[in-house]
């Protein structure tokens, strides 16, 4: 199995935090035994990723359950419950061969489980998988080890959506059929999956314990005797527990970014950058006077020193954004759309653009007054907002910082569009069609968490549609490049920062490098 060179990505992107992880050659062969303890931010409500996108639920779900495929770091799609598959020439029919595997209760895993799960649970209950379900025309199970999925139209992210993170974890039909998956005790009390670890004990508010699955289909794995999910609600207490050796792993979603440097400086710990691209974006309400002019938005971009934000507000973690999409999908990039060349930090040119847009300074030297919002649980929000307030004061734009609670702020921004500017972050989901298009297409306006900008461009809508249906990365990339060209010029959103979240772990926990968004501990082992 190829290990993608993900551990170096931090350096490759010019991030301040360069991480080098020990390679497997130095570690020697994996050792069996031991129990790894990882943190969860709150007591899970349910251990079933297909019905919940909450982080705590996700972190424990993919330890027990598996999808047909796994996504390995770097976005590589590898076989999991499906041992192999073929795709028809028109990219519409996917034929999977399933592995010989057993459920944790001893029942055999068959294609009936797959058909049931994808049709009856994932399509109906998973907010992520339902996007994929919309293009599925039929799912057939011609044999216990065969499953055939036919799509209405080509959909490149299809395979990727069949993993546990995206809500495609396969559930046992014999335990779920005819029940409500949300209240079924298999979801809420004692999960039964096919994964490397099986459920052992759940002490509410304290921990969830999993033990090695001796009957695992991948003989020899897992190496660990068990894993424990420890509930640690305070972000600072997670770092402290890690530093004290009480836990071994804090997933990227809940690892406080301000502690990255501390772990990076200590040889007893390691950081693994999350492979899921995510971007920090300033969304602009393009219906507000002043902000309705693309020249003004371009001026604001040039008045924003993104490298400075990276070094200070983001503590050097990640990279400055160079295009509307994430930097980490080079196949979708447009050659002409490079923010470092289009909109370098240049207050003088920003002022010239504001002049052209007719925004002249008043008696106080102020050209434009705007409110900049952020969600009060965004720990970088106050820093970014304060720095931007300072930068923009140099070009005569007066910023009022207006944070708000998530529950109030999200509908205000996304549903009512009652804001000037706001700092939000978008996860790409690994593909522009899965996570990014919603930011700009007209059809995603008016609901969370889609397009809050008031920007509606039929050409952009059409190109996103085309790209979703086109086959192959090259063809899709060419269309996305056109979209990025338009978005880079119109700037309904100011992409500021490429977020690279990192998991923190003790150096003795090995084999976590390939893990995708939610950990499975399939290949993890503890060094003595």
């Amino acid at each position: 199995m190829v290990f993608p060179m993900l551990s170096r990505i931090g350096c490759a992107l010019g991030a301040g935090l360069c991480l080098t992880l020990p390679t497997h050659a130095q570690d020697g062969p994996p050792v069996s035994g031991g129990t790894a303890i990882f943190a969860v931010g709150s007591d899970p409500a349910t251990i079933n990723r297909n019905i919940s996108t909450s982080t705590a639920d996700g972190l424990v779900s993919c330890v027990v359950y598996e999808g047909l495929v796994e996504v390995r770091a770097g976005g590589v799609i590898a076989p999991l419950l499906a041992s192999e598959w073929t795709v028809s020439d028109d990219n519409l029919v996917y034929e999977f061969t399933l592995r010989q595997a057993n459920w944790h209760d001893g029942q055999p895993f068959t294609s009936a489980d797959v058909k049931y799960t994808l049709e009856e649970v994932s399509a109906k209950f998973s907010s992520t998988f339902s996007i994929t379900a919309a293009v599925i025309s039929s799912i057939e199970a011609p044999a216990p080890d065969k499953i055939v999925v036919t799509l209405d139209q080509p959909y490149d992210p299809f395979l990727m959506s069949l993993n546990c993170t995206q809500g495609g974890a396969i559930l046992p039909k014999h335990l779920f059929e005819g029940t409500d998956p949300a209240t079924n005790p298999v979801s809420t009390q004692a999960p039964v999956g096919t994964g490397a670890f099986r459920f052992a004990e759940w002490r509410r508010g304290e921990y969830v314990k999993f033990e090695r699955n001796p009957d695992y289909w991948d003989a020899g794995k897992p190496y660990l005797d068990g894993v424990i999910a420890q509930v640690l609600p305070q972000s600072s207490s997670r770092t402290q527990a890690l530093m004290a050796g009480e836990i071994d792993y804090v997933a990227s979603q809940i690892m406080p970014s301000s502690d990255y440097r501390m772990l990076a400086d200590n040889p007893n710990f390691a950081l693994i950058p999350s492979p899921v691209p995510s971007i920090d974006v300033m969304v602009v309400n393009t219906t507000r006077p002043g902000l309705d002019d693309a020249k003004v938005r371009q001026a604001l971009m040039m008045a924003t020193d993104r490298d400075y934000l990276l070094a200070t507000a983001y503590q050097g973690a990640g990279a400055a954004a160079t295009m509307p999409f994430t930097n980490r999908m080079p196949w979708a990039a447009d050659a002409d759309t490079d923010y470092t060349k289009l909109y370098p930090y240049d207050p003088d040119r920003a002022i010239a653009l504001l002049d052209q847009a007719g925004l002249m300074p008043d008696a106080d030297g102020t050209r434009l007054r705007v409110a900049l919002g952020y969600l009060s649980d965004d720990q970088d929000g106050p820093l970014v907002a304060t720095a931007i307030k300072s930068m923009w004061s140099k070009v005569g734009v007066d910023v009022t910082i207006a944070p708000g609670e998530r529950a109030a702020m999200v509908p205000k921004i996304f549903v009512d569009n009652d804001y000037d500017l706001a700092l939000v972050s978008y996860s790409s989901g690994g593909d522009p069609a899965l996570g990014l298009a919603r930011m700009w297409v007209s059809s995603a306006a008016g609901r969370c968490c889609g397009n809050p900008t008031g920007y509606s461009n039929p050409e952009v809508d059409q190109l996103f549609d085309q790209a979703q249906q086109a086959a192959g990365q090259q063809a899709r990339g060419a269309i996305y490049a056109k979209v990025q060209h338009i978005l880079g010029r119109d700037l309904p959103t100011l992409t500021l920062h490429e977020r690279i979240l990192s998991s923190g772990l003790t150096a003795r926990l090995k084999g976590m490098e390939h893990e995708y968004y939610l950990p499975t501990f399939r290949e993890a082992w503890l060094q003595d």
Partner: protein, 288 residues
């Protein structure tokens, strides 16, 4: 004419003696000195460093040095400059809240103490209702509901602090109104209102004002607490806010939390010691 009434208040020799005692106390001199320096910082600092409140330098998280005396913060802002602007917020909130609370407390306490029994009972029960409110929680709820803002914070702290002044004022008024000089004033034909505001209130002020000094300290602490929990305006520099953002970087920049923390500690201590000292000296029982 009324001022010629001999019993009206302590005579000037007593006042001089008290001033001498105050000035001979090193604690008093130190705490008043600290308060004066802080006032100077709050007034002059923001003028000297006008417009530099938000200035970003190129270096973030630089330890204290000759260039930036107290280091720079996570955004590269000078901590010393931030502290100066923060002192303005702290002192403004502290003093303004204490003054308003004292004025309200004096008025209500005087009415309760000098009015009829029924007035006294009603007013004091209302006062007790305010006194048993958990002030920090209430302040947090009010800010969360109606939003932050320096004026609002001052108002909230004033509303939460007046009962202690009112109770003290009432006690003093009750004591003084039975003194002989009050009866003398009544014999001279003064109305009850005149007696209250001209004869009783001025002589009840000394202990009330010392409590006012203590309220300054409490108000500064409450403001810092609200700011620490992110409940004050994000646009206004404040020590509590610095403490809040500094705790994230405690391992990388101790100076971000230590200096604002010290500033809050020293300021509150200075106001409390000053208040205690003044109370001790003006307390009639501490004479000789």
């Amino acid at each position: 004419m009324q001022s010629s009434i001999p019993a009206s208040g302590p005579d000037t020799r007593v006042r001089d003696r008290r001033l001498v005692r105050l000035l001979s106390s090193s604690v008093a001199i130190l705490s008043f000195g600290v308060i004066l320096v802080l006032l100077g910082c709050a007034v002059i600092g923001p003028i000297v460093y006008s417009g530099q409140e938000l200035a970003l330098t190129s270096a973030s998280l630089v330890p204290p040095s000759g260039q930036s005396w107290l280091g720079t913060d996570e955004l590269g802002r000078d901590v010393f400059v931030q502290m100066l602007f923060g002192s303005r917020t702290s002192l403004l909130v502290g003093v303004a809240a204490a003054v308003s609370a004292t004025l309200v407390g004096i008025a209500i306490g005087a009415i309760a103490g000098f009015g009829s029994n029924r007035v006294d009972t009603v007013v004091m029960r209302v006062t007790e209702i305010f006194q048993v409110m958990p002030s920090f929680v209430l302040a947090a709820v009010i800010v969360a509901l109606w939003g932050p803002g320096t004026m609002r914070i001052i108002l909230i702290i004033a509303i939460l602090s007046w009962p202690q002044t009112a109770r003290l004022m009432r006690g003093e008024v009750l004591r003084i109104k039975s003194l002989d000089y009050v009866n003398a004033a009544r014999c001279l034909g003064m109305t009850e209102t005149q007696i209250l505001w001209r004869e009783v209130v001025p002589n009840a002020l000394a202990p009330v004002l010392t409590v006012g000094t203590l309220i300054v300290g409490q108000a500064i602490l409450l403001e810092a607490g609200l700011a620490f929990f992110g409940l004050t305006s994000p646009d206004v520099a404040s020590w509590g806010k610095m403490l809040n953002s500094g705790q994230r970087f405690f391992y990388q920049g101790w100076w971000l939390s230590v200096f604002p923390g010290l500033a809050i500690f020293v300021t509150v201590l200075a106001f409390n010691l000053a208040g205690d000292k003044v109370a001790e000296i003006f307390n009639p029982r501490s004479e000789d």
